[in-house]
């Protein structure tokens, strides 16, 4: 029965990757920037809410809401005042800007909230449900459900609704979209806000399953980026599927080969996919702009 347990546990971790990746994809497709500081939106939500309910005594739900709001505000301000003013001029300046965000958020959290790792609300992570002999962890189920639901809803919104069409239009070509009357600035703000919320959910889930400090989201964000490479930053469904799959893959590798094998195993996966996927799959599709 441990195989099923590994599968579910891995899928839950993969669900976290997917939540982070969804936000990264949205930001990338609308703002054309890879947000290397994305994991820190989750950190802000979780670590700050910990501070609010643990040190200041606020009710946990209020703490979480306030912290998520903070993450959203930080995201929007960052985009409006920093990222949008750097993108076009210098290759990589948007990357450095998001790195600046990563550094700043980490340093501030460390100094204000403390450098020590803290345990967080359990949110069902210690509760075990017994379904006919199979022990299922409640938090795993919640994580998988939330991740799947978010991904499916987002997919549907993107494809079937007007809002989704606006998003895609702005992602394709911002100027044309604006000339068609789409409020691209508002779309952008909404995108960053949504991405921050997704990251916050991921951050809180991870904190409840493990613990929280100023750096705890970094490995998760890294895995999300890897799933992004594998699936392609311009797509949506496929990279998210890779995200779930990556969690399961890692889980089995650790169990069968030991934790030391994870890094090379993930690497091998990347090399294999990149080496054997057809070229059309791998192209970024943005070339004809000489």
């Amino acid at each position: 029965m441990s195989e099923l347990s590994l599968l579910i546990g891995g899928a839950a971790t993969g669900g976290v990757y997917a939540l982070l990746l969804a936000g990264i994809l949205l930001i990338y497709q609308v703002s054309k920037a890879v947000n290397f500081g994305h994991g820190q939106f989750g950190m802000i939500a979780a670590f700050f809410s910990w501070y609010l309910y643990q040190q200041l005594g606020l009710h946990p739900v209020i703490a979480i809401l306030l912290a998520v709001l903070t993450a959203v505000v930080v995201a929007i301000l960052f985009d409006a005042f920093v990222l949008q003013r750097t993108s076009d001029r210098q290759v990589g300046s948007d990357l450095v800007a998001t790195l600046g965000l990563l550094l700043l958020a980490t340093a501030v959290a460390e100094n204000v909230l403390g450098g020590r790792t803290q345990s967080y609300l359990t949110l069902g992570s210690r509760t075990v449900l017994d379904l006919g002999g199979l022990a299922l962890n409640l938090s795993d189920l919640i994580t998988i459900l939330i991740a799947l639901a978010s991904v499916l809803v987002l997919s549907m919104v993107r494809r079937r609704t007007r809002v989704g069409a606006m998003l895609t239009a702005v992602a394709e070509n911002r100027n044309v979209a604006e000339s068609l009357g789409i409020p691209s600035a508002r779309v952008r703000v909404a995108t960053w806000a949504l991405a921050a919320i997704l990251a916050s959910v991921a951050g809180v889930l991870v904190a409840s399953r493990t613990s929280v400090d100023a750096y705890y989201m970094t490995p998760f964000a890294m895995k999300a980026f890897i799933a992004g490479i594998l699936g392609g930053l311009n797509r949506f469904g496929l990279p998210l599927a890779f995200a779930f799959g990556l969690g399961v893959y890692e889980s089995f590798v650790v169990y069968l080969l030991g934790a030391q094998a994870v890094t090379p195993a993930v690497f091998t996966l990347i090399i294999v996919v990149l080496a054997f996927a057809p070229r059309s799959y791998l192209s970024e599709g943005q070339e004809a702009r000489a």
Partner: protein, 331 residues
């Protein structure tokens, strides 16, 4: 287009070189160390500039090449008695090969995907360093024995300085020559647009791999000097954040121009020192994130662009200010 080789133009390198020669005689021990560190950074950053600033490939793996050079030097200094010349050649070779390997995915992916992949390479390097602890010393690293020729060894800090200076000058010369060279022009074309480059017969892949190789070799050289000057190598010195420091330094200093690398190196070593002297060293990491963003918004071309603007004011009209292709904004 041949450049006018006026006397003034020929004398241009003399002044900085003279400064480089005189400097160590004026500095105290600690400042000499800082100057040496700046020179090491210069070499590393020029390496990054070749692959990123000039060929337009975003790579976060520069720390790996420096690390390979450093660990190679450490190992050679402990198990062999070869001169530092051998160490430099071997390190540059290994790092160059490693860089080609890192760059190989460029055959199939490009842009940000490649950048994230270089991120993954750094993690792989860290994994190798920690897992094979019997060879690499694990998290505590290795002590580096002095290197040199015969009796002249890096146990003497002046020797370390001269070594770093010589390699920095070599790197500078290399990258200046590069720009006027077909390889350099190929890189500029590739940076502008892959499609354009291919359409004029430039092999995108070969150019990118060459760029990686050069950046790797320079990183390896910088690593050797770093190992001897620091006296030890540990994995903590070659992480993603180390690479990011270099990237930050490059962008702040200004890409595509060799003095950008020098300015960036000076920034990364001297600005934390300023904070330390003011008694608030911890403010640096917090502030640097903010300052970084500020500079990006206000000075996208880096500090070098400011100096360029100042210089242009004094340049006589009709001069041949060759605006490098790398500076035209690539959309």
């Amino acid at each position: 287009m041949p450049e006018r080789r006026s006397l003034a133009h020929r004398l241009r390198p003399v002044l900085p070189l003279a400064l480089l020669v005189v400097l160590p005689l004026l500095l105290d021990s600690f400042s000499l160390y800082q100057a040496t560190m700046i020179l090491i950074y210069v070499t590393a950053i020029i390496g990054l500039d070749i692959v990123f600033g000039r060929a337009g490939v975003l790579s976060v793996a520069q720390a790996v090449f420096i690390g390979i050079g450093a660990y190679a030097a450490a190992w050679m200094s402990r198990t062999t008695a070869v001169s530092i010349g051998v160490e430099l050649v071997v390190a540059a070779a290994i790092a160059g090969v490693a860089a080609i390997v890192v760059g190989l995915p460029a055959l199939r992916v490009s842009g940000l995907r490649l950048a994230i992949l270089t991120f993954a390479f750094v993690e792989l390097f860290q994994w190798v360093l920690t897992t094979f602890a019997s060879v690499t010393g694990g998290t505590q690293g290795l002590r580096v024995n002095p290197g040199g020729f015969g009796a002249i060894t890096t146990a003497d800090p002046m020797v370390g300085y001269w070594l770093a200076a010589a390699i920095a000058v070599l790197a500078t010369w290399l990258v200046i020559r590069l720009r006027r060279n077909p390889i350099g022009r190929a890189m500029a074309a590739v940076k502008s647009s892959n499609l354009l480059a291919e359409s004029v017969g430039v092999s995108t892949v070969r150019t990118k791999l060459t760029a990686f190789m050069l950046s790797g070799m320079l990183g390896g050289l910088a690593g050797v000097v770093l190992a001897h000057v620091a006296g030890s190598v540990t994995p903590a010195g070659f992480t993603v954040f180390s690479s990011l420091d270099l990237l930050v330094a490059l962008i702040l200093g200004g890409t595509g121009r060799v003095h950008g690398a020098w300015l960036g190196a000076a920034y990364v070593v001297l600005v934390p020192e300023v904070f330390a002297r003011l008694g608030i060293p911890n403010a640096y990491p917090v502030v640097s994130g903010a300052v970084l963003m500020l500079l990006l918004v206000a000075l996208p071309g880096g500090i070098a662009s400011v100096l360029d603007r100042v210089r242009d004011r004094f340049r006589p009209r009709g001069g041949h200010t060759l605006t490098p292709a790398t500076e035209r904004s690539s959309s």
